[in-house]
Structures are given as C-alpha cells and as structure tokens.
Amino acid sequence: MALVDRSRSPLSVGQRYLLDWNGAEANAVTAPVSKEPPAGASLVMLLITTLATLAAMGPAALFAADYSLSGFGTIGFAKSDQPYKYQRFVDDGGTLRRDSVAGVQLDAWLTPSIGATVQALASPSSYNDSEFDGTIAWAFASWRPTNDWLLRVGKQRLPLYLYSQTYNVGTTFEFARLPTEMYSISPSNDYVGLSATKTWDMRSGELTLDGYWGRSGLDVRFWIRDGMPPNQPPSALFRRLGIEGGGLVLTHRNADTTYRVGVGRVTVEGKGSANAYPVTYPFVSIAPGTGYYQVSANLPGPGIPTIDRYGYRTLTFAADIDLDSGYRVVTEIARSFVTKTNLSNQSTRGYAALLKRVDEWTPYVTYAYLKSSSGPLSLHSKVNSNLVPPTIPGAAQINASQRIGADGILVYDQHSWAIGTSYALSPTSKLKAEWMRVRIGQVSSLVDAPAGSNIRNQSINVISLSYNVVF
C-alpha cells in the first residue's frame, strides 16, 4: 500500500483502474482523484451527531458545559538530494507539504465524566497531491462511568502505535518526523466506531486495555511511473477503500517506561466501481520461455482471480524506556499478515531510537526498517522485469502493461538512519532538525520513480527542519 500520509496510508490492491488501464477507466486516471472525498457528508453528519449528543442532554446542560479550545501546528521543510519524489513530496527542490499541518480541537464537558471532543485538521490531501484538505480527525462523545472505565463513540484514532494518536501534534514527540517505515503503512489510524478503555492501578504503574471496533475509509495511492501512453503522463492514482474491524491494545505505563502490545484485525474492501482485488497476476505463455502476466482484463489470458475483500491482521509491540541520565530508548515493531492476496502490503516494520535529553535539547539517532513479505515482493519483481520480444505483436503495449501492473503492487524494501534533535523553546513549542539517509533495496512504493526507471539499491538523503507548537 502506498502511502497517503497524515496517518492515512494506502493499501496495496489491484483494481479496475489498473486492470483496465487502457480502457474506459483510464479517463478517470487523467484526474487521479478519489470520487469520494474522505471528509465528506458522513463526517459532517458525525460532527452533527456529536453536537446533537450534547444538545440532547438539554440546552441548559449544553450551555453549562466547560469548553476548552486548543490548537497545534507544524511548519516543516524537507529536502532531499534526489530529483524524484520520496513520500509524495520530498525531492531536491524542497517542500513544505510533507510535514506541515495545523489543527484545532474543542473539548467540552457536561460533567467531569461526560464530554465530547472535535478536532479539525488541515493537511495535504490524502487523495490529491496538489491540494491541502480539511478533515475532521476526531469527533466523539466520551463517558467515564468510573475512574477506571472510558467509553467513546464517534470518530477517533487507534492507539495501535505509541504515537499514532498524536501523530499530527509535533510537540508530543522528539523526532522531526515519526519513522515513515513504521507509521505510514498501517491500514488506517482513524475510524468511526466504539472504544472502551479499562485501567488498572498496579504497584508497578498503570495497566490499560483498549478495545476498539469501527469503520473507516482509506485512500490508496499508486504512482504510475510511465503514465498511460500516449495520453497520460506519469501521475499518482488514488483509490478509496473501506476498512472495518477492531483490535485490542494493552499498555503498561509508569513514570519511566511504557510497554505496549497490540493486535488488530480489519477487513479491507473496495469502494465505488473497483470492488474486486486480484489475488495474483497469472502468467500467460506465448512462446517457449516468453510470455506476460495478465495484469489487465483486456489482455488475453485465463482471467485474473479476484476476491471481494481480504483480512488484514496486525501485531505490534512498543517500548519507551527511560535509561536514567537523560537517555531513553524507543522502539516499535509491527508485523502484518494477509493470506488471500499477493497484492497486499503485508510487511514487517519497525524502528529503534536512542534519545538523550540535555537541558532543552534532545538529540536522537533512529534506525527504521520496512520490508514487504516475500509473496508481494516476488510477484512485483517478476511482473516488473518481464519483457516480451519486440517481434511479438503488440509487444510495446504488453511491456508497458507489465510495468503498470507492477506499479499496482505496492511493495517496500528499505531502511533508514536518522540523526536529529529537538529543541524545546518552551513547554509548548519545539524546533526540530534531522538528517536521514534512506536506503532503497529492491523497490519502494514510497518513491515516485521517474518514467522508464527502477529505483533500487539507491540512497536518499533527506534534511528536515520544523517548528512545532501547541496553544
């Protein structure tokens, strides 16, 4: 799944846009924008529902509520040493789009135990590379029947990773950017649904169990490096997916350390016209030792096996450990499992960071890792490298289809080292700087490869600077 960042990331799926790349659907690619804005009418309804929940308790209660308005923002600049884009926006021209974000949050409490939260967010669009987008990131009502229970309904964010809930609030972590290898590949961080949190006070600290279930939409981004000859230049293609599922997260926390394990399972299905997923691309032999993968229904072949939906399971482990003397280790590992299709983003990913606080400075070094499972990587490699001889009729079109088909398999093989620091200007603002060196192995769908090329066994150096504030 290719990334659409800001905590929405794309899943790898085949779909009719790609299967019918030279058919009628190709017209949709010329305007590669999801037909369903993610923050559309449903979110407006959600917001209205949340406010109505408050209002239903009576106008007097609404006016008697305590309100708290807060906000956050990051202005981030990132520049790489490569002419092609990494993480949608970062190239040697520099960009403010990768890391800049702003949000406001309204918290209201009718009583100490009943409240509602709405958070509005402005960030680069998850379904268009050239626009900013306004979304409602949170919109939920909460109830704490006792000190140890918290129930929430509405739009909220998964606690699956250590920082997934505060992903957009740069002052809540020291890294200039949360490790992309870890944070950009989850099926979805936002969902509309229910959550329940139970807390136990223990002698060793606090133990928290979060359970959640809900639905969400997810924008998937494919980079079609060669475009759709002859009319379509290289461009990004977006698709909207539906996610439904839940999970459990167990966290143990005390003043010095946090440990977290999580398990989640969601069902992924297409929305709109593209609702079938290829299981694989069958190989069609046209002569001894040569042939092609049927990546499109328009190509002759046995037909592409498809499924309507697939399950996506994730296991996570995280630790944030205070080592004394200002040193801290933060690490997270995740493994995802998909059994029904080779066109998924099942992967192993993680990072480890060592931080040292020195007065207002917190320098750090981070190693992050992301690798797709062997099935998707192998299929991508075979399809991407497949060529039929020019003597075969329609060879150019077949060969082009192979590369487009490969672009529809979103796979990753990369790791990175980063050295950076944050500097706390105040308790509510931080400056951050980072140098990161990314090593691309076999392939990475986080890279927008130039037309006709393969980006493999290359390094990308990225410099990032940002100012982060909450108010």
Partner: protein, 143 residues
Amino acid sequence: MMPALRHRILSLMVLLLFASSTAITQVTDGVVVIGHPTVKRLDAATVARIYTGRVIEVDGVSITAINANAGTSIRNRFLQLFLNQDEDKYTAYWTVRRYIGKGASPREMGKSSDIIQFVTSTPGAIGYIDANELRPGMNVLLR
C-alpha cells in the same frame, strides 16, 4: 523495665516523632489541598491521580480540580511535591493526554482568593493554596 531499655525506647520514639514531623513538612511544604465540604480527606497519591486526570470521582463524588496559574510559586511547589514533576513535564503530559482524547488539564485560576471562592462554593471542587492563606472553616483535604 530496665532503665537502659526504657531510655532506648524513649529515644526511638523521639526519633520516630522527629522523622514523622520531617516527613509531613517535606510532603506539604506549605501547600495545602482544600476542597468543598462534599469531598473527604485525600491521600497524596489520590491527589496526584486527580491532577493527572486519572481520577475523576472519589467516594461517589465527581471531582473538579483547580490549578493555580502556570509559573506561580504555589503551582511549582505543588507539582514538585505531589506529582514529582516540573512545569515542562506537566504541560507535556497534558498535551499528550489532550491529543489522545483523554481530556484537558484542570482549569486554572490566578488568585488564591478565586480558588478558595470556587472550591468552597462548588460541590466536588478541590484546589491548593499556600498554608498561610488557610482560614478557619476551610475543608482541608491534605496538608
């Protein structure tokens, strides 16, 4: 009882008494937690849990905590004594808590007279003031 043993026990008692009064002085350091009459006495751990949002009701009473303004001496002493935190750490704690959707830090008031007024008139309210500002009739929860 032998005189030597009696003397030893007496010494031990004096030592314990001294240690106890020292501990009390260290715990409160002139900071007194007060509350509405609906709130019963609290221990330091519960006060810490209230001011970190982990406790919102005590013995069936919904608690509304009040903080002194950031940067004030009384608040700094309170944070250090009861939460073992400084202002930066406390602010960072609540920033995270707010943005994981678990509430906001307690309401702040600038003057101790405002805190006293609010606490004495609001069921379930608690706050903290300097011991010098204690007046007769106030419900002292912890000192």
